[in-house]
Amino acid sequence: MTTFPLPDLGEGLPDAEIVTWHVKEGDAVKVDQLMVSVETAKAIVEVPSPYEGIITKLHAAAGDVVGTGEPLVDFQLTGASAASAAPTAVQVESHAPQSGTVVGMMPVTGEIIEEHSLLRRTRHAVGDQVRAVPAARALARRLNVDLAQVSGSGKDGVITLDDVLAAAPLESPRRKVASAVEATVLGNRRHDDGAELLHGPRRAMAQSMSRSRDEIATCTVFDDADVHAWPEGTDITVRLIRSIAAAVKEEPGLNARFDPSGPSRILFDHIHLAVAVDSPEGLIVPVIRDIDKKSGAELRASVDHLRKSVRERSVAPEEMRGYTFTLSNFGTLAGRYATPLVVPPAVAILGTGRLQRDVVPTETGIEAHRRIPLSLTFDHRCITGGEACRFLAALIRDLGKSA
């Protein structure tokens, strides 16, 4: 048996006079069914039933004055009201005289709030979130292009429609889609002369090298590192990587990003090294992260993993982004010196040629030393010749050590 008291009908009114009962003892009522009309100092108010049940007792008759909070109606709960009579249900806060609610029901739970809020966090650098013009996103979805693999040519590296078109893979069914899109979107850019349309890494290379040509103030310095002090079986690639870390420490200006619109540059406090790898698909440039924090064994493991991924064509998009310096070890094939290209917004690249024995004059006579030819290309908009040469000197010094 549940007693429903006269609720606080608003503005702290102390009592109300019963005008008309709309139910009688013994009636079955539903929730919200009109139960009684009462008159307060302000107006006649209709009180709905808060429960589903059977009216067992009316505590006052028409004309009686009932105090707020005093018993009004007794119910025998049935159905949903009986089931939810458990204390954990939201209570109707309507019986305490000081509750201060107008007609209606203010939800009250027993919940205690545990404060977890933070006051505005400081901005941290945007991670690998891809920034693309919305139309480019839609096009990428249609052409099945992975935006993470597309390099953006718009302002601040935003991916544009053209970038997506350039990156679209063109196996035969999609070739039609891409061509159709090109025809409609770009008018007269199709080639009908039987030329092989480039896709994947070749397409990306054509794009990024064009950007390099258009934007970078290229200057290359050549020198040789004398490595005759190296013992048998020295891991060449690992020594090259280590020397880059040593040189960056001395001249951090080559491990940076340049923005010509400032002009401004950011010197990075981490070194993520992109390693140029040749593959049947073309030039692939996966990244080894934090080379200055890895041991020789860890670097070797990273390089092996990298070559394996390229062979298996399993280089993930994240593994190609975020590099701060590049190594192009073309010397495993042929070639001594080169003018490797820097792809913006990076500012430098080291090309290493074939390690071979050179005849060198020394103070004591003629000797044959193992040497590695070095070609350091840098963006002269933001790196001075002095910085580049000091970098090169630090490279040569570190490579010259026996271990």
Partner: protein, 325 residues
């Protein structure tokens, strides 16, 4: 440290300011002897006297006008408009005088008024008692609009509002006046205005909301987490001026934005937030911005009230809609 409801936190903040700042005066209908229809000012007239806590006639324009005059004479009035639906007669004073006093006097005077009013519906009250028209005031330069969502933020933000030398419209979400309790230290420490509060960190979608809708939004976030979607929930807290930097920073990381407000859709504050993100964060978005709002109708009476108010399900659906692929 007691665990108190939002209403008690509001009373506590009033008492602190009445005690520590002799220029603070409260006024409003039924706030004195009665302590307010929601008991927000319970016991204050008994404690501080009828000159500091004044019962006014039933005249909102007059209440607001008195505030302008009191503020001009060096007092700090904190007025209650009994329900936001009653604020319209006061708009003349608020817009034509309060919000302009600093501008009109070229900075020689400001108008340190706080107008507090219960905001929103969900308590089955009659017509005019469930309004949420914050957009009207967000549009007016010179007045701040603030809306807390927990007892602690109600305490801290009300203190900040009272201490601020410019007018603040302080919206109190009536549906959560007594919904839950929280430990709030009565230490007089204000929270900063004009910044968002991060309620839940997430990586997949940013949900911006305020007032009572933070409850449903956090429930939706829990439901989404079970589906593997990590939602970041931001309490706007100060509705005007909008802390757009916090929202843009969050969207830059998540790439998706859903805005939830109880107020009607057309030209609601959600539209302004969406415009800001479209202007300054477009390239970070991976899907169109979604708004979950009340409908463009008069707020219905209690039988349809919960159909009007954005539900947990509607919020979850809106988040799903941002995962178009």
């Amino acid at each position: 440290m007691a665990q108190i409801t939002m209403i008690e936190a509001i009373t506590m903040a009033h008492a602190w300011e009445l005690e520590h700042d002799p220029s603070v005066v409260l006024l409003g209908e039924d706030i004195g002897i009665n302590g307010g229809v929601f008991r927000a000012t319970a016991g204050l007239q008994q404690r501080f006297g009828s000159e500091r806590v004044q019962d006014t006639p039933l005249a909102e324009g007059m209440i607001a006008g008195m505030c302008v005059g009191m503020a001009a004479q060096g007092l700090k009035p904190v007025a209650e408009i009994q329900f936001m639906g009653f604020i319209y007669p006061a708009i003349d004073q608020i817009v034509n005088h309060m919000s302009r006093m600093r501008n009109r006097t070229r900075g020689r005077m400001s108008c340190p008024v706080v107008i507090r009013t219960p905001h929103g519906g969900g308590i089955r009250s009659p017509e005019h008692h469930s309004e949420s028209v914050e957009a009207l005031f967000a549009h007016i330069p010179g007045i701040r609009v603030v809306c807390p969502s927990t007892p602690a933020r109600a305490y801290g933000l009300l203190l900040a509002a009272i201490r601020d030398p410019d007018p603040v419209l302080f919206l109190e979400p009536v549906r959560i006046y007594r919904y839950a309790k929280q430990e709030v230290a009565n230490d007089g420490r204000a929270l900063p205005l004009d910044v968002c509060f991060l309620l839940r960190e997430g990586t997949d979608v940013t949900i911006v909301t305020w007032g009572a809708m933070t409850v449903e939004t956090l429930k939706a976030a829990t439901q989404l987490a079970a589906e593997g979607i990590s939602a970041e929930v931001i309490d706007l807290a100060t509705i005007s001026p909008i802390d757009s930097e916090a929202i843009l920073e969050s969207v830059a990381r998540t790439g998706r934005l859903v805005i939830v407000h109880e107020a009607a859709r057309n030209c609601g504050v959600g539209a302004e937030i969406a415009a800001i993100v479209a202007e300054q964060g477009l390239y970070d978005l991976q899907a169109p911005i979604q708004r979950v709002t009340g409908y463009d109708t008069v707020m219905p009476y209690f039988k349809l009230e919960h159909d009007y108010l954005p539900s947990v399900a509607r919020i979850v659906d809106a988040v799903h809609a941002t995962f178009v692929d």
